[in-house]
Each structure stands twice: as structure tokens, then as C-alpha cells.
């Protein structure tokens, strides 16, 4: 047990994580390309036309995985933030800030595709539905985190301040979600419920799952390659960086 712990902490140093991440990026890129390729094929050629919503329903094959990822990435960021605050490791803060832009992107994709789903299905680009509203607030939380980190020059402070903000956000997310949900049920006027009963066939579910896994692998690949740049930027004055092959050209 003890030796394993030491092993983990070895990779928490940027100098040893940098080459490891470099090896992992192509692997996850390959997984992402393959899974998304299969997922796209399935979502257009294998999954049958929905008897109720026609071909338009195929939007859910990007919408739902993006929405899952947007929430999942925030939780992963919170995990890194807590780790960074507890163990005071530098890498954790870098991981959190390298995940944020990707998380924000998936949140935006979820909102965008949600709008393009809503227009043909409900006749409006935007409904103040509980889930859409929560997703919008999630986007605000991501943007707040990015803005806060952008405003702080000192990397140590920006890591810790960002970590605190994420943890505060994670405590708040359930409260926000349930208050929005309650607010929505109280104001149920002309709005349409999202959970209209179209039973999902198992092939659709599988397609969604494969796409979600592909997005997940994509997020890992992108976050790892971004964290490599962040490591280089922050450690540019150290000897190990100056000894890297890609730097000595």
C-alpha cells in the first residue's frame, strides 16, 4: 500500500508527469477517433428513425453526451481541486485549469444542440426548462472560473483560488439545480416538458454511450495535451525543461 502511494506522488511532479502525459495523448486520441467514428456511423446509419420525432432526434447523439461530459468534467475538476488543496500538489491545479476550457466547450455544445433540438420539437429555440437553465448556469460557473484564473498572475494563488471557487460551486450545484427545478414546476405555463415519453430503444442508448465514451476520451486527450503546455509555461526556468528534446532544436 505504502509503495503504491509513493508511486502516485511520483507522477504528481510535473517533471515526471510531462513525458507520461505525452505518451497518453496519442492513445486517447486514437480511442476518441475510433469511438466517435463508430458512434457517428451508428447514429446516422444504424439507429432507426424515431417514429415520433423523425430524423431530427439524431441530435441527441451529440447533445446528451455533451451534456453528460459538461457535468462530469466539472466534477473531475472538483476532484483535482480538492486533491490540490489537501496534498498541496502543483499538478492538481494545472489539471483543473486545463480541463476548464474543454468543460466550457461541452457545456456550450450542449446548449447549442439543445436549441437546435428545441426549435423543431417544441417550436422555440429556448425554453426555460430546468435542465437547460441549470446547464446555462453551469456555463457561467465555468466562465467565472476561467475569468478568475485569468485575472491572477501568480500561478500558485490562481490554482488555490480556482480550487476554492470550484469547491464552492460543487456545493452549490445541487442547490441551484433543485431551486431551478422547483421554480420551473411552479411556472409551468406554455413550456413543454423535456421528458416526453419516447421510449429509447437499446440501439439508441448504445449509440449515445459510445459517443459519450468517445467524447470522454477526447476530453482526456485534449486536457492532457493542454496540461503539457501549462507545465512548460510554468516550469520554463527549470533545468529539466531546458533538457527536453523538443526544446533543444
Amino acid at each position: 500500500m505504502n509503495s503504491r502511494l509513493i508511486n502516485w506522488f511520483k507522477f504528481s511532479s510535473p517533471a515526471s508527469f510531462y513525458p507520461l502525459a505525452g505518451k497518453m495523448v496519442p492513445v486517447f486520441t486514437l480511442i476518441a477517433v475510433m469511438l466517435i467514428g463508430v458512434g457517428l456511423y451508428m447514429s446516422f446509419f444504424v439507429a432507426p428513425t424515431d417514429y415520433k420525432q423523425g430524423e431530427g432526434y439524431r441530435i441527441i447523439f451529440v447533445h446528451v453526451p455533451a451534456a453528460w461530459l459538461s457535468m462530469f468534467i466539472y466534477l473531475v475538476m472538483a476532484f483535482w481541486a480538492a486533491l490540490g488543496l489537501v496534498f498541496n500538489t502543483r499538478l492538481s491545479g494545472m489539471m483543473a485549469s486545463s480541463l476548464a476550457p474543454t468543460g466550457a466547450m461541452f457545456t456550450f455544445i450542449a446548449l447549442w444542440t439543445g436549441a437546435f433540438w428545441g426549435k423543431p420539437m417544441w417550436g422555440t429555440w429556448w425554453v426555460w426548462d430546468a435542465r437547460l437553465t441549470s446547464e446555462l448556469i453551469l456555463l457561467f460557473l465555468y466562465l467565472g472560473f476561467i475569468a478568475l484564473q485569468g485575472a491572477i498572475d501568480d500561478s500558485r494563488r490562481s490554482d488555490r483560488a480556482g480550487a476554492l471557487l470550484i469547491l464552492v460551486g460543487v456545493v452549490n450545484i445541487p442547490i441551484i439545480h433543485y431551486s431551478v427545478k422547483w421554480w420551473n414546476t411552479l411556472h409551468q405555463g406554455a413550456s413543454v416538458s423535456v421528458t416526453q415519453g419516447s421510449s429509447m430503444s437499446s440501439i439508441m442508448l448504445w449509440t449515445m454511450l459510445i459517443m459519450a465514451l468517445g467524447f470522454w476520451a477526447y476530453a482526456i486527450a485534449v486536457a492532457l495535451s493542454r496540461v503539457r503546455s501549462i507545465i512548460l509555461e510554468r516550469e520554463r526556468d527549470t533545468t529539466w525543461v531546458s533538457e527536453l528534446a523538443e526544446v533543444r532544436r
Partner: protein, 57 residues
Amino acid sequence: MSVAEFFDMGGYALYVWSSFGVTAVLMVIEPLLLRKRRQSVLQRISRIIRMNSEEKL
């Protein structure tokens, strides 16, 4: 199913292709931006190293 029929998406072409299109564009742009960022970081660092070694000489 013909190609035209496929692209028509049963009349939902605008919605389906805007969703998939924007997602695809974003997921291509992000790695490209990252590659650019990495190259500029590497360039900056190697310039600093070169400057330092010239100073030593």
C-alpha cells in the same frame, strides 16, 4: 436511401447538420489551437535557452 435523402434528414437538415457541424468544428478547432499554443511555448522556451547560453559565452 439516396445521398440527397440522407442530407435532407427527413426535413430536419438545418437542425441536425447545425448541431453536428458546430460540434465537429469546435472539436477540430480546439486541438488545433492547442497545437499552436504548444508550438509557441516551445519556441519561447528555446529562445530563452539560446539567450542564456549566449550570455554565458
